[in-house]
């Protein structure tokens, strides 16, 4: 296979970027996501009190309201909440990356196999998918935590073990539509292997749908992750986590509202960013499919 010439790739990429950049909500989403990811990566360098990540206590500075020094105020042991929120983004993003890193390849391969091969392959894969869809991820995470121990890794695996089902269903329906298309039949008559048809003919036609769903899913996974931490099933203290901070701060409501509301806003902000980005990508690819 020859490589696409750089100038043409550039012009296509530029066209897409131009259309994307004209969509204000998509751009807001992109800015939020880039901002959060950068902040999470550079957390030790950009936060005012990087040492507050650990089990630091400073009881003289506890429950301080937001100020120029402590932008988001301090918590019940005097740690800077802004610092901990930025570090908390790391856990949320890690959760999204791990869960989707497992769920998307699994769901895509199973969905393509079920949609393309049909027959028993389809029946077995899709019935398992239906059963898995019936279990809420949060309940699964609770069950896993009860059997093993409350731990971030266990929670991530529990969510990932159910999250692939949505991708399987989506890719399955796309593949079913593609299977009867002439270009798939043409590839068959040309002698292409099953591997080629699945990964070179069908997969490129699923990429836009996967990109949109991934972006939207990041938001949802982060919310589920925050819910898990709130219930105490996420990463264990003192490592900062947005959901855990909301849970701990909640006991000091309403007097010290910033301790739970501001980390909550961070969750909202991050999930919103991914959702806006996903919507923007969907608009972009919808146009592309029409032309």
């Amino acid at each position: 296979m020859t490589e696409t010439t750089p100038d043409l790739m550039l012009s296509n990429a530029y066209q897409n970027w131009y259309r994307f950049s004209r969509n204000p909500t998509a751009m807001i989403g992109l800015v939020i996501v880039v901002l959060c990811v950068t902040a999470a990566i550079l957390a030790p360098y950009i936060t005012p009190f990087p040492d507050h990540v650990g089990a630091v206590t400073n009881f003289r500075a506890r429950h301080l309201p937001p100020s120029a020094v402590n932008w988001f105020g301090t918590d019940n042991v005097g740690r800077d909440i802004f610092t901990r929120v930025i570090f908390g983004l790391r856990i949320s993003l890690l959760l999204a990356v791990v869960v989707l890193g497992i769920a998307i390849p699994t769901g895509t391969i199973l969905g393509m196999a079920a949609g393309y091969f049909g027959g028993w392959t389809e029946i077995i894969i899709m019935r398992i998918t239906d059963v898995a869809l019936a279990i809420p991820p949060l309940v699964m995470a609770l069950a896993v935590a009860a059997v093993l121990s409350p731990d971030l890794l266990h929670s991530m695996l529990a969510i990932a073990s159910l999250w692939w089902t949505w991708h399987t269903r989506m890719i399955y329906s796309i593949t079913r539509q593609l299977r009867t298309q002439e270009f798939i039949e043409a590839a068959e008559t040309l002698g292409a292997s099953k591997f080629h048809i699945l990964f070179r003919e069908i997969l490129p036609n699923c990429v836009s749908a996967i990109a949109v769903k991934t972006s939207l899913d990041c938001g949802f996974v982060i919310l589920v992750g925050a819910a898990l931490s709130f219930l105490g099933l996420g990463i264990q203290p003192p490592t900062p986590d947005l959901g855990t901070m909301v849970a701990q701060g909640a006991s000091f409501l309403p007097d010290f509202w910033w301790e739970s509301v501001l980390p909550g806003c961070a969750i909202l902000f991050l999930a919103l960013g991914f959702n806006l980005l996903g919507d923007g990508l969907r608009d972009l690819f919808d146009v592309e499919d029409v032309r």
Binding site: M1, T2, E182, A186, T189, L190, G191, E201, P204, N205
Partner: protein
């Protein structure tokens, strides 16, 4: 005489189902069809929509399994070879709609490389071979990096032809290769196919409902009506002295422009009422067994 393609008593029936899924009967899409194409010839298979033309093409390509009958390519029965490289090397197909037969997410070069990869063509020599194939179908080399949506219908169909010829098959099935194209583009695509046929010593099965196109392109024709060949022979003979009512009707419905053409048009006895449709004939078949003559 040696036949490149021989079709013997080919039949394909599809079961019909009632609303609740009970099998109520079957539709014979192709009923006991036999014909042969000699090496280097163009055989035209004509008929209206639903006459079974495409089903025959799909069975030759192995996309649909015949209910009964045999398909021989170059003297060999294809029954045990469907999906094999050997089958692909002997016969390829150009699909009706080039917009649908090329993957929208793959470049021209990527599409043409599919048969090269599948047939174990040397990877390093592929770009050169793709260039040759583009030359062959008279497309500029720069098209290799384009996506289908950047090409016109005629250009897409040329890419599809290049792809079908990449492994140098002996038989090429053309399933209405020009019906999705503008009339002005049709002629040029057909000219290209004629030239390529001569240069590569190809045998064509040309499926179309366009009788004027068939008259110029095919040496022999078969007229397909409701899954049966009702008339076959040399193109000139069939077109000038049609013996079957249905052939006459088809010929009479070809639009003509000039007075000479009008004069050449066969005089047909007017048939009372409508042309029998498949549904009506099925009903008739249910009442009376035996060979049905429309």
């Amino acid at each position: 005489m040696s036949a490149m393609l021989e079709i013997r008593n080919l039949t394909k029936s599809f079961p019909t189902h009632s609303t609740f899924g009970r099998q109520t009967g079957e539709v014979k899409a192709v009923a006991d069809v036999s014909f042969a194409i000699e090496k280097g010839q163009v055989y035209g298979l004509a008929g209206e929509s639903g006459s079974g033309k495409s089903t025959i093409a799909r069975m030759i390509m192995g996309l649909t399994r015949p209910t009964s009958g045999a398909i021989l390519i170059d003297g060999q029965d294809i029954a045990g070879q469907i999906g094999t490289r050997a089958h692909g090397r002997r016969v390829q197909m150009v699909f009706q709609n080039p917009g649908a037969s090329l993957n929208p997410r793959r470049t021209v070069a990527q599409s043409i490389s599919v048969p090269l990869v599948a047939h174990g063509f040397d990877r390093a020599a592929q770009p050169r071979r793709i260039g040759e194939l583009l030359d062959m179908v008279q497309l500029p080399q720069a098209f290799a990096q384009r996506y289908p949506h950047e090409l016109s219908g005629g250009q897409k169909q040329r890419v599809a032809i290049a792809r079908a010829l990449a492994v140098a098959p002996k038989l090429l099935v053309l399933d209405e290769p020009t019906s999705a194209l503008d009339v002005s583009v049709q002629a040029r695509v057909m000219d290209l196919l004629t030239d390529l046929g001569r240069a590569m010593d190809l045998t064509f099965l040309f499926i179309s409902h366009d009788l004027s196109l068939m008259r110029n392109f095919a040496q022999r024709v078969g007229i397909l009506y409701l899954g049966q060949i009702v008339e076959t022979g040399l193109t000139a003979e069939v077109f000038e002295r049609p013996t079957h009512d249905y052939t006459r009707l088809l010929l009479a419905s070809v639009p003509v422009i000039s007075a000479e053409e009008e004069a050449m048009r066969p005089i047909i006895p007017l048939i009372d009422g409508e042309i029998p449709t498949a549904e009506k004939l099925l009903a008739l078949r249910g009442q009376a067994t035996g060979k049905d003559t429309p």
